[in-house]
C-alpha cells in the first residue's frame, strides 16, 4: 500500500463524516460541481462531472461485503428492461422506468411516493429497445429525454410536469429518439439524441433549465460553410447520422463540456460517404455556454463497424511519461483505450484492451494505421475483432482515486460484419417499415436492422470465442493490472467505491463485488435478470446502499 493510498484513505474517513444522509432539495449548480462531497446522494448520471462513477462511501468494504444482502426490490412491471441510472437526493430515489415514466421512491424501502408518466406515441424509433437511461436534476426539477424527441421538466417534489419542449420531429429521416440521460451544466440542460441507424443528422442541444427554451444546438455534422464540411462525399453529410446518445462530462476548470458521438450512416456501407465523416466517432470539447467547438478528436475516422464513440468521457489527472497531465481517459468501442490531453485534445497514447484486428498502430495525432481485410463484405466478414457491439459500448467505466485504476467492463466478442446494398441515402418514410427490437431476447441477439447497410446479427464460432472481463487499467499507460473474466460480453457498467470494491452485473444477472486492488471476486448475488445498466451507491437512514438494475427490477443491497 502506498503512502498516497493511506493518505487518501484517511481523507475518506473524514469524508465519511460528511452529511451521510444527504442534503435535500434544491440542487444548486455549486452542489453539482461538488457532488463528490455528497456521497450520500447521487446527483447526476455518472455521480460527478468527471464521470468517475466512484462512491466515497466506505461502510461496505472488502471485509464485510460477504454480508451484503437484498434490502428491497423495485418491480418495473414492464416488458422492457431497465437501463437507467437512478438519482438519489436525501433518501429519495428518482428513477426512470421504460418507456418514459419517472418514479420517486423511499430509498430505504423502495416504496413509491409519486409517479409521472410521459406517453409516447405508439410507434417510436429507438434502435435498441424502448428504453431510457436516466434523469438530470437542478433546483427542484428533474429532467428526462423522451423517445419521441421531447425534453420534459418535472417537479421533484410532486411529479408534476413543469415544461415540455420538442427537440425535433421524431419521425424525420426514418426516426429520431432521445433515450439517454441529460446533463445539467450551470443553468443549462445538455441533451443528446439517437437515430444513427437511420439517415438522421445528429446534434447536441442545450436548453434553459427554467423555461425549456433551446439556447444552442451543435450540429455533429459540419454544415455548409463550417470547418470540416468537406469530410463527407457528395450529399452524404445530409443523412450521415452522428448522434449523441449517451451522457457527457464537464470540466469546470476549463469550462469545457465533453461529449462522444456515434457512427456515420449507413453503418456498414460506405459507398456514398467517402471521407473522414467528421465529427463521427469522436469526442467533442464544447463551450457549454455557447455550444462552440473548442476541439475534437476522432477515434475512428470513416468508421465501417458501428463503433460509436458514445462512451462516458472520464476526466482525471495522471502521470504520462513522467509528467502530470490533465487527461481524458477513453476506452473506446473500437477496442482501444485512449489517453488525451483534455485541455488541448492532443493524443497521448492508445492501447488495445481487447483483441483487435483492424489497426496496427497510430500516428502522432492518434490517427489509426489500418490493417486491410477488416471491411464488411456482402458474404460476411467474420475475421474482425472487436465485434459490432465493440470492446465496450455505452456502459459506464469507473475510476477510483484510491487505487488510481480505471475499471472497464469489457467485451471480447467474435461476430460477423456484412455489407449490403443501401440505395443512396434518402429520407423515405418507408425505411420505417422495420421496427426496432422490442424484447430483451432481441437485444441480446443483436437483432439486425436492414436500414444500416448490413446484417450484423449472426454470431459465429464457438460460444467460448466471446466473453466479458472486468479489467483494471493504469490510465497513464493503458496497461492492464488485473482481469476478472465472466461468461458473456456484458451490457452493464461498473462502479468503484471507497470500500475498495468494484460492483457490476452480468448478462446472466450475476451481480458481483470485486476487490478493486486484485480483481478477486468477493461476493455475488444471482438476480437472474440481465444487467443493462451501471450500479450506484448512496445512503438511506445513514446506511450505505448499492442499487443496480437487473431485467425489469431494481435490486438494492446493504448491510444489516
Amino acid at each position: 500500500m502506498t503512502i498516497r493510498y493511506v493518505a487518501a484513505l484517511a481523507g475518506l474517513v473524514a469524508a465519511a463524516a460528511w452529511n451521510l444522509s444527504g442534503q435535500g432539495l434544491p440542487i444548486s449548480s455549486d452542489r453539482l460541481l461538488k457532488a463528490a462531497d455528497e456521497p450520500g446522494n447521487w446527483l447526476m448520471y455518472s455521480h460527478t462531472y468527471n464521470s468517475w462513477r466512484f462512491s466515497n462511501l466506505n461502510e461496505i468494504t472488502t471485509a464485510n461485503v460477504k454480508n451484503l444482502r437484498v434490502k428491497w426490490l423495485f418491480q418495473g412491471r414492464h416488458i422492457e428492461k431497465f437501463e437507467t441510472t437512478p438519482l438519489v437526493v436525501n433518501g429519495i430515489m428518482y428513477l426512470t422506468r421504460p418507456e418514459n415514466a419517472i418514479y420517486a421512491l423511499d430509498a430505504a424501502t423502495g416504496r413509491q411516493m409519486w409517479m409521472y408518466e410521459y406517453r409516447n406515441p405508439p410507434r417510436t424509433f429507438n434502435c435498441c429497445g424502448r428504453v431510457n437511461r436516466g434523469l438530470a436534476i437542478s433546483g427542484n426539477t428533474l429532467f428526462m429525454n423522451t423517445l419521441d424527441m421531447h425534453v420534459v421538466a418535472v417537479d421533484a417534489r410532486s411529479g408534476h410536469e413543469i415544461w415540455k419542449t420538442e427537440m425535433y420531429d421524431y419521425t424525420e429521416a426514418g426516426g429520431y429518439a432521445a433515450p439517454g440521460a441529460p446533463l445539467v451544466v450551470k443553468d443549462k440542460l445538455i441533451v443528446g439524441m439517437a437515430g444513427g441507424e437511420r439517415g438522421v443528422s445528429g446534434f447536441l442541444d442545450a436548453y434553459d433549465t427554467k423555461t425549456g427554451k433551446r439556447l444552442w444546438r451543435f450540429h455533429t455534422i459540419p454544415q455548409p460553410g463550417e470547418p470540416n464540411f468537406g469530410t463527407w462525399a457528395g450529399d452524404s453529410w445530409k443523412t450521415g447520422g452522428v448522434t449523441t446518445w449517451n451522457n457527457g462530462s464537464y470540466d469546470p476548470e476549463t469550462n469545457t463540456l465533453f461529449w462522444g458521438t456515434s457512427n456515420p450512416w449507413p453503418d456498414y456501407n460506405d459507398d456514398f460517404r467517402a471521407g473522414d465523416n467528421l465529427y463521427s466517432c469522436s469526442v467533442l470539447a464544447l463551450d457549454p455556454d455557447t455550444g462552440k467547438l473548442k476541439w475534437f478528436f476522432q477515434f475512428t475516422p470513416h468508421d465501417l463497424h458501428d463503433w460509436d464513440s458514445t462512451q462516458i468521457p472520464i476526466l482525471l489527472e495522471t502521470q504520462f511519461r513522467g509528467e502530470n497531465r490533465k487527461a481524458l481517459a477513453w476506452a473506446n468501442r473500437n477496442g482501444f483505450y485512449y489517453l488525451l490531453d483534455r485541455t488541448t485534445g492532443k493524443f497521448l497514447t492508445a492501447k488495445a484492451f481487447v483483441k483487435q484486428t483492424w489497426a496496427k498502430g497510430f500516428d502522432n495525432n492518434g490517427r489509426p494505421e489500418l490493417i486491410p481485410g477488416n471491411e464488411p463484405t456482402p458474404e460476411g466478414n467474420d475475421r474482425v475483432w472487436p465485434g459490432v457491439d465493440g470492446g465496450t459500448n455505452w456502459m459506464s467505466h469507473s475510476y477510483s482515486p484510491l487505487t488510481r485504476l480505471l475499471y472497464i467492463f469489457a467485451r471480447e466478442e467474435h461476430r460477423m460484419f456484412s455489407k449490403n446494398e443501401v440505395p443512396h441515402p434518402t429520407t423515405e418514410p418507408e425505411a420505417n417499415a422495420i421496427a426496432a427490437p422490442t424484447t430483451i431476447a432481441q437485444a441480446n441477439a443483436g437483432a439486425y436492422d436492414p436500414a444500416i447497410g448490413g446484417a450484423i446479427s449472426r454470431a459465429v464460432g464457438m460460444p467460448e470465442e466471446s466473453w466479458g472481463k472486468v479489467i483494471a487499467v493504469d490510465p497513464g499507460t493503458g496497461n492492464i493490472k488485473w482481469e476478472h473474466r465472466v461468461l458473456t460480453p456484458p451490457w452493464g457498467g461498473v462502479m468503484a467505491t471507497a470500500g475498495n470494491l468494484v460492483f457490476g452485473g452480468t448478462l446472466e444477472g450475476m451481480i458481483f463485488a470485486l476487490n478493486a486492488t486484485t480483481g478477486e471476486r468477493l461476493w455475488t448475488f444471482s438476480s437472474n435478470g440481465p444487467v443493462f445498466a451501471s450500479p450506484i451507491s448512496y445512503t438511506a437512514n445513514g446506511k450505505q446502499l448499492i442499487s443496480i438494475p437487473a431485467g425489469d427490477l431494481i435490486v438494492t443491497f446493504g448491510l444489516d
Binding site: 423515405e428 436500414a451 447497410g453 460460444p463
Partner: protein
Amino acid sequence: MSRSGWIRFPALGSSVEPLALLLALCLPAAGTALSGRAIFEGKGACLACHAIGDRGGSLGPELSKIGVIRSSESLRLALVNPDAEIAPEYFTVVAVTKGGQTLRGIALNEDDLSIQIRERDGNPRSFLKDNLKSLRRERRSIMPSYAGRLTAAEISDLVTYLRTLRGPPPKIGPRTRQPHHAYSSIEFLDRIGRDAEERPDTLITALEIPAGATVADLGSGTGYYTWRLARAVGLGGKVFAVDVQQAMLDRTAETVRKHQLDNIELVLSDETSPRLPSGALDLVLIAHAYHEFSNPEAVILAVKQSLKSGGRLVVVEFAEGHPFGPLDKADRMTEEQIRAEIEPAGFDFDRVLEIVRIEHCLVFTKREAN
C-alpha cells in the same frame, strides 16, 4: 440430431427430384416410412432421446415437425454424421466433479456461478462451478452416428419416415382473413435494405431450381425476384413475370432490362387467373403477393393447373407475430393460414425454408389426383 436453428443451405441440398420425393412420400413410400418408423421406435432406439409429441425422451430436439424443416439430405447427414450441422445448444458438455465423477450432457443454462445440464439419461441437473474439477464443451453431438448401426437401406427408411413428420395438419375451414386488393407501393418494394431483410439470393439458391426450368413469378412487382429467377433458370429456362397491374409489369420490364436478361415473358393477369400455360411450369413463386389476392382460391387452382406433375408452389409472406416486418396486420400471414388456404386446393406441404426470421417461406408440391 442437431436442431435446425440456422440457415445452412448447403445441406438443404436435396438431390432428390421433386417427383422422386413425391413418389418416395406417397406411393411406394408407405412401406419404407412404416419400416422407418419401426426402426425409429425399435432398433434405432431414437425415442430414448427424441420426442414426437408426448412420446419419447428430452435430450435431443423434439421431432414432430422435422420433416418440414429439414431436407432428406440434411436428415441423412444428421444420422450418419451428427456433428456435421450441430447447433451450439447441442454441443456436448463434459463436467467432472471434484469427486471424480464425469458427466456428459447438453447445457440448459449457464452463468458464472453454475451450469444446468441435461444428462444423457434426460434428467436435468445443476452444478455450482466451484464444485466442479473441470468443465468443457465439445463441438460434437451426444447422438451416436448410425452409419455403422443401421444399413443404408434402414437409414433411407428412417429418413423417409422422418420426412413424414410434419406436425398437425392445418385446420381447414373458412378463410380467417380478409384478402386485400392489389396494392402498389413501389416505394415499399424498393425500400432501403430489402436485400438484408429478405435475403432473396439465399432463398433462390435454397430452392435449387434446375437450369432450364420454366417458372413463374406471380405478383412480380418491381421484378425483385423475377430477375433472380431468370438468372437461376439460365438461358435454357424461362420465367413468366405475372402481375395484375400494368404499372408493375412496366417496372418488372425495367428491372429485367437493367439486368440484360431476355428469358422473361411478361403476363398481365386478372384477379381470378394468372393466365399461365397449362401443365408447363416447374415452379411458381408467390412472394409477398398472396395476401393481396382478392380471389385466392381461383388463382391457386389456376396455379395448380399451370404446374407440371410434381411442380412446386413457393409462398413467401411476412410472418404474423414477428416484431419486424410491416405494421399492417393485413400484410402478414401465419404459417397455419398459408397452409390452410393452399393445401385444400390440391397441394402437399413439402417444407419450410428458414431463410430469415421475419418471413415464412413455404414450399408445396402439386398433389396428383389418385
